[in-house]
Symmetry: C2
Subunit: 296 residues, 2 copies
Amino acid sequence: MNFEQTISEYRQAIERRLDAYMAQERIPASLREAMGYSLLGGGKRLRPVLTLAACDLFNGNRDAALPFACALEMIHTYSLIHDDLPCMDNDDFRRGKPSSHKAFGEATAVLAGDGLLSYAFEILADATLVWQQQISSYLVALQEIARAAGISGMIAGQMADLESEKDACADAERLRYIHARKTGAMLRASLMAGAYVGNPSDAEAAAMARFGGLYGMLFQITDDILDVEGSLISLGKTPGKDKVEGKLTYPSCYGMETSKEMARETAEEATEILKGFGERSWFLIALTERTLARKS
Amino acid sequence: MNFEQTISEYRQAIERRLDAYMAQERIPASLREAMGYSLLGGGKRLRPVLTLAACDLFNGNRDAALPFACALEMIHTYSLIHDDLPCMDNDDFRRGKPSSHKAFGEATAVLAGDGLLSYAFEILADATLVWQQQISSYLVALQEIARAAGISGMIAGQMADLESEKDACADAERLRYIHARKTGAMLRASLMAGAYVGNPSDAEAAAMARFGGLYGMLFQITDDILDVEGSLISLGKTPGKDKVEGKLTYPSCYGMETSKEMARETAEEATEILKGFGERSWFLIALTERTLARKS
């Protein structure tokens, strides 16, 4: 199996479906323009790729997984739009172009974010109703996504992150709390949603949840490292912002060398869990390696 | 049956359940404070009252309807918080006290709104999974709510409203478009969610949908009238803002007398539909009368 070919297949399927969702005439033109500006034509599509990969690992129906994958990308994108607002992180660039409020003004950016979050749940409700034969399992997938996006997931992480900027004292436990929620919860939910479409056993779901937790941590450690070592061109966003803003990060908390060591150990542990699934897990193993080595 | 006693029973059930949802320890303290500030201890609870009343009309399970009712109030509250932001309507008062961004700052207000919207869907997913015996019907209720809150519902209305401020030309069709979506969709969904918990026939659901559309219109016409004729004390928000901001309203479009006549006609038509349900509809008939005569 070829990693590049497979991830490119996943991405094409995701792009096509996202395009179709955004082409719906019932979305008012100006709202569609703002939502599409942030959602379409860019991004690594990591979350929806995780969903499709987890679905394939359990031989799930990829067509059924696609709405979940796209909803996760929409929720991720809404969080970026709101996060970039002047009252939040005040970031002028995202994915290599002006952020939403720079391109459309603040009011439209708030609504574009609200719109993407709401549309995601509309898509999830529709998808769950379509696949009646497995309705409970799909509802559990929806529930995982709602929890991850919600007030003990991503939003809790955002809130703690907001407060940590006021709080100069770096604190390892707080760092883990923020990252597990702000980034980790949605990455884990992306995997769990795909897995539930594949109807896993309880043991398989538990193993996937453990992998998801570790993968989320790996992603955040490498993200923090890249903010120090990356460039505007490779990242598509302003590097070095964490330090300027005094944000709590793995390098600020543990130093760069220890952070890199933690990333390696987390990747190893994650890979061990995946090996338990046998050969079917080749793609997620390769993705974990590439996440450890990533430059963007 | 006594209207005041029944609505007070509904409200007590709603307040208790909202309190319970907001008491959950897994919500970070500062987020809980901001969400609770806007959600708890006030408001007419019109949307959740409509849900419980529609559920009762179809002899549905009120315990099962309560999560839907509370989710609708959360979505309504999130929309108010975001709507009050400086970049949107820039309103400093809401429900008789400082609006969220005035009390907690803009960043927290954005997150409190995002949190309420996400929590609503978490509650909806949980509620749907609990009542397995009627899972499809409950999912349709969830779907109605997602649509109403979404990009062809409330958010479409907000977006059109935002644009109409730039657009001096008052236009009856645009006015109807905005109000049907910005306010009407959620009021209609509140009724439909309660109805679906009661498992209505297709004809009953269609009649409730027609009533919902008319009730939403009645509510908005009277709301626009009150913005001209009301006071800060009775409304709990700044009156006269529509005119200052050049907003498209029923009085600005049709004049005050015609607006009042439209309200009366809409209420009559709505009541006719309710009469088709027989005696069970007494509460919604009384509520419609009171909406027509409302002072707040």
